[in-house]
Symmetry: none
Subunit: 210 residues, 4 copies
């Protein structure tokens, strides 16, 4: 999907970034291909050399976003630290994403995601939104299971809990999007306690001091 030639790869990236910028500024539907091309410093036709349609640009942006999430998640998972630390890091990771992302950008991801739900993701066999989420879920489950195995967590329904975890993280993200004045640190603390103290951590295991 992505070109192999480094020069082309560069242009491919430039177009995605330009698209991201334009969509963030003008919205998903008001953002014109012409502007993306101009922003990327290429001709209008060139955009169509790299993407078959506007929707394919949407998909590419969303995939890039999920790549980022998944990479962060995998990095955390591969660390040699206790599972409860990993869960803590996940929450931090997720909530900190908003600090390095402008609201406009976050809105765009959300908008693409919502619009994508309808048409070009669900029902498509490969690379679909649902598969991306399933991958995230399975990584989270692996962390939870590790915790149970290590005796750090109580026995939990890791599958359902992983979904709850994902859902909570997404939900917090959305609400932060809507209400930037949210005290994100306080929210982080409460959420972490909800999951660690409340559900996961064994009564007699080492409590995180906060």
């Amino acid at each position: 999907m992505t070109p192999q030639d480094p020069i082309q790869q560069e242009k491919y990236t430039a177009i995605i970034e330009a698209a991201f910028k334009v969509f963030a500024r003008d919205g998903l539907h008001k953002g014109k291909i012409a502007d993306i091309a101009k922003e990327a410093g290429v001709g209008k036709g060139t955009v169509y050399e790299y993407f078959r349609s506007k929707e394919e640009i949407f998909t590419a942006i969303l995939n890039q976003f999920f790549d980022l999430i998944q990479i962060g998640l995998d990095e955390v998972n591969h660390l040699e630290i206790p599972a409860d630390q990993k869960v803590r890091m996940l929450l931090e990771l997720n909530l900190d994403w908003f600090k390095t992302t402008t609201t406009e950008e976050a809105l765009i991801v959300t908008e693409i995601w919502a619009q994508g739900l309808r048409s070009f993701y669900i029902g498509q066999p490969d690379d679909a939104l649902i598969l991306r989420y399933r991958k995230i879920q399975s990584t989270m489950m692996s962390i939870l299971n590790q915790g149970v195995t290590d005796g750090v967590f109580r026995a939990v329904e890791s599958e359902t809990l992983a979904i709850l975890l994902m859902a909570t993280l997404d939900g917090i993200g959305l609400h932060f999007l809507m209400n930037q004045s949210l005290d994100i640190e306080k929210l982080k603390r409460v959420t972490i306690r909800a999951f660690l103290e409340g559900i996961l951590v064994r009564p007699n295991s080492t409590q995180p001091q906060e």
Copy 2:
């Protein structure tokens, strides 16, 4: 905003319902005013007697959705039952919504909501998305505070916790949207336990048996 004359009121409702149907079928941007008019059994021009623009129809649909949520919430809040029961009911209420709503309809609400985030809600003083959420939040806080006052809940940061509760409910909704095969009952149970057993309920208060 809504007309007072019953005949007009009827037409107003018919248009919203038609719009809902058309959007659910064709998507937010592919759904045409002409089709809405036809579906509602009125002329194209008539739609513009009731709504200034297509976006205003979006807003109306979203408001209707929030009215529904808020009404349910208020009903629960006004019941003469312990706070923990209320929290439990909230969760039930929210997750059961999906049983009476088709995926297409839920998608439309999500799509409008996401698109609305950008343009026609945020930044608008009245009736804005954020105000609707603040109202929800305040109702939830009132329930949480009642619980603390009644000694059912531990002392909690009710403001932050209300946000977490909202966020979790929204997150679960979204994930259910993406993955209909989710075991919603199991998820409900886990979520309720997370909130009640884990965070809210006092160690020595009556535990809900499940």
Copy 3:
């Protein structure tokens, strides 16, 4: 297909005439819908109220042309004159068409006709080019048969001869299109003699004096 309301009918005609003019000036593929709209004094969108696509305008023009041909043919056929006179008139009619038609217009009809051969006519069940021709052929056959019955013509294979007649008329039209300096009167005379003296007229019937 054509609108019934007289005001709309007028607009419909205006658009066809405008299209004819624009195509004649700029060619079939260079002729822009925008120019047709401007020429017709309507908005671009209005063109699409009356025609679903550019091709449908092509078809309409071609049909109008065939209507004209067929009407003239029918008029001749319904006259109370001998069959040989009718054949003579047919030839006159056909060749005189070019005197009231500009080359540009004739070219457009030819261009549409040729392009039409390929895509939007052949293979379509109703109103197709071939049906229009079959109608013409049948009218010609009726004239030829009348001549045989009346004893003016020798016994002829009227079906094949009708085709030859059509083909000859079309061929002459085309060559006149390509070579305006053709002496059309001389051509008319020769053609008429070829058909009447040569093939059709009985040796002992009254010879047309020329």
Copy 4:
């Protein structure tokens, strides 16, 4: 116009043949240069080494077609046979062309020819369509005149009759294009008789027995 170097000549021919194939398949305007290049096994840019534009390819195809016609015509003309035999052969030659040509190919020639009438042929001094036809006409006249000189034909206006002959042949071709179910043999017979028996052959000359 055509390259001299045999390797280049080969490529030149390959491109024309590829163009013919692509146009026959996709139509004149839908047929893409890119596809022609691919079909010819060369790069897109290479096409432009051999042809200045898409229109020049049209011209080349049409010229090739006329070369074919003219060559056949000359061959017949150079035979040592009576003029009436030559006319008969001309008709056979022309009508038999359709047996070795697919409809799609014939359509393409027609389409190019019609489109060519407008823009790139008429008005151009060299190699124009009209010159090609004049050449054909002059060959035909030479045959007709030979017949008169030899006493096989009556005295005829050979110039006008040559045009009529050309026109008839073209007309028959077009109608055969539109109606493949035409009984071409019967048509051939009728046409030959029309010209030979009817107009050309002297009353006391040897009649062709059929």
